[in-house]
Symmetry: C2
Subunit: 363 residues, 2 copies
């Protein structure tokens, strides 16, 4: 069975590496030659706007899935004439636009920061009058890892931020003074069966995920998150991995955003859970039974951004698992991550400190 993956970054690479042991054949569709998934799987090069090339690709595989949620929805929709597409194009469409996404959350009773659509300067003033400062002005589309965002605390921030982002559809969001950030990775199979991983606790640096630890053990919060995400999965008739990031605020969850794909905050599952998010995504889209999501211990995942620490130093760290994406170094680029799994949270936290020190010194 051929698994077509639109997008050939590190997520596509790790999806491909998970497909082989299942006896499945991954094939990547990518606009840019030489991306890191090309090291591990055959690649078809084509534009994501080229309907003919995408249709040819779709006809050559048994299912189409994604390593990148910003594939143009108009390019994806026609593909289901040829082949099963999972997750569905509607899920992509919802997640590509922050305003649609938050509107969907609200419809399903999932708490979100207060928000308002901003097309003009007058819209922004009204939004600030209603929601207040501080807030965040964001592009509705194509923002990720803190890009396309302006934090607004003062009138000066408002001027500067609007000048920077105007001219495209925007959204103004209430800024939440959250206690923690957590995420839930859920998987829904073709027959509607759902498994989910325990919550991970995430720390971002300059808008980019730096560290995840799992499980984040708050059973009540897990149930709250799972109830929210299961509603989303059902509404979207979803198949595959869906990740939702939440703020923990006054002991409850506020949804920040969703990603209709495997997610950086689920990378700990590679060694920290019985079945990784990558394998479970492949199982789901291929129509295979889902694998167990129990943890194998207390995990830490640390991202390497811009520069990889020395490989020998990393592999000297007791119990460390390296996931190098095989990319060349570039400022701000995610180049790899490491995970480690321990019997107790205390030992995990020691390892986290050691890994963060290694990351600081070497980056």
């Amino acid at each position: 069975m051929k698994i077509g993956i639109l997008g050939g970054g590190q997520l596509g690479r790790m999806l491909a590496l998970s497909a082989y042991p299942l006896g499945l054949s991954p094939v990547i569709y990518e606009a840019t030659p030489g991306t890191c998934a090309a090291d591990v799987a055959p690649v078809v090069i084509g534009s994501f706007d080229d309907g003919k090339a995408l249709a040819d690709f779709a006809k050559s595989v048994d299912v189409v899935t994604f390593d990148w949620e910003n594939v143009p929805v108009d390019s994806v929709k026609p593909l289901s004439a040829w082949v099963r597409v999972a997750p569905p194009a509607t899920a992509l469409a919802q997640s590509q636009d922050r305003w649609h996404e938050k509107t969907l959350f609200r419809k399903l009773g999932i708490p979100t920061p207060d928000f308002a659509k901003v097309d003009t300067r007058a819209d922004l003033d009204q939004a600030i009058a209603r929601i207040g400062l501080p807030g965040i002005l964001k592009t509705r589309r194509l923002g990720y890892d803190g890009k396309g965002q302006a934090v607004m605390r003062t009138a000066k921030d408002v001027e500067r931020g609007y000048a920077q982002l105007q001219g495209q559809p925007l959204i103004y969001e209430q800024m939440i003074a959250f206690e923690r950030e957590v995420s839930l990775i859920c998987v829904r199979g073709r027959r509607g069966e759902i498994v989910d991983y325990p919550l991970a606790e995430n720390v971002h640096e300059q808008g980019v995920l730096a560290v995840s630890c799992a499980p984040y053990i708050k059973p009540a919060l897990h149930s709250e998150a799972a109830a929210h995400v299961h509603r989303l999965l059902g509404r979207l008739k979803y198949v595959g991995v869906l990740a939702v990031e939440f703020f923990v605020h006054k002991g409850h969850l506020i949804a920040n955003e969703m990603a209709p794909r495997v997610h950086n905050s689920g990378h700990w599952t590679l060694e920290g859970a019985v079945t990784s998010q990558f394998e479970n995504h492949i199982r789901a889209v291929a129509g295979l039974p889902l694998g167990r999501t129990d943890v194998t211990g207390h995990s830490v995942m640390v991202n390497f951004i811009g520069r990889m620490p020395d490989r020998k130093k990393l592999l000297s760290v007791d119990g460390l698992h390296l996931h190098d994406y095989g990319k060349s170094a570039r400022t701000g680029r995610k180049l790899g991550h490491a995970t480690a799994v321990f019997a107790t949270p205390a030992r995990r936290n020691q390892a986290r400190a050691a890994l963060l020190a290694l990351r600081r010194n070497d980056q």
Copy 2:
């Protein structure tokens, strides 16, 4: 760093899949196009007797290693002029010939079944007179998975067996009425550091490994095995994974054979140990620090031979990890294996029974 692998079967495939997350680039050298490692790594096609092609391959990589121990030693020896070769050609040479192998074991004080070199019918008669029946007549070279062997219990077996195997260098070995078969997987790094996995208990069917369970918890036997294998590693100035199979007989170990490569009886380490034998072999030959070999629980590994059970049925088994080699079905061919890891030996044994039933019904 490019890791050149001579041989492109399932071991090469799993070595390649382990190299990518370390940020290393595997390249396969293989005589036959379309072997299963070709799905996951670039392949150079060439004969194992073609010194020029092998030298060109060696010059194009940073280290040469093996998925197959029967690469002609005369082809391997010149390669070290161009590149590091690990394990060393001398280890290949010793393991390619059962008489040299057992003679080395004896020199190092490692108990073996009694044995004698057989070049003529008179040699065989003398060997039987000294060692007795039952015994096994084996080809000294190129035997594996029970091929090239004749069990001799009666005078008639002796006639038939000799007629079948004569005309090539042979060895006659005492047949051990063993209680169990176990194996030790050891890894030696470039600086001489050694890690070893706990013993696995193996069950063969018709000369082919069917099931391994690990850890086989007999601390005294582990120490005995480790002492033997560490002597071998030192003598051979070995780098990489070395597997040695032992019979357990009257509470002690008798060495059966060694394999200078990752080994089927170590496949349980993929999920059953912190670092798999494949990753540790790659770490060793690449000169990287070795990874932890502690177990993650009680593992079972079941081989699928000749035919793969239905994929959906397999993946419905709770906690099962599938490793499908992507080969076409053929009688007697190893097509894949499954592993599962449990908190207790009792649960592991239940799962083993369920897996064996599935294997019987579906094969």
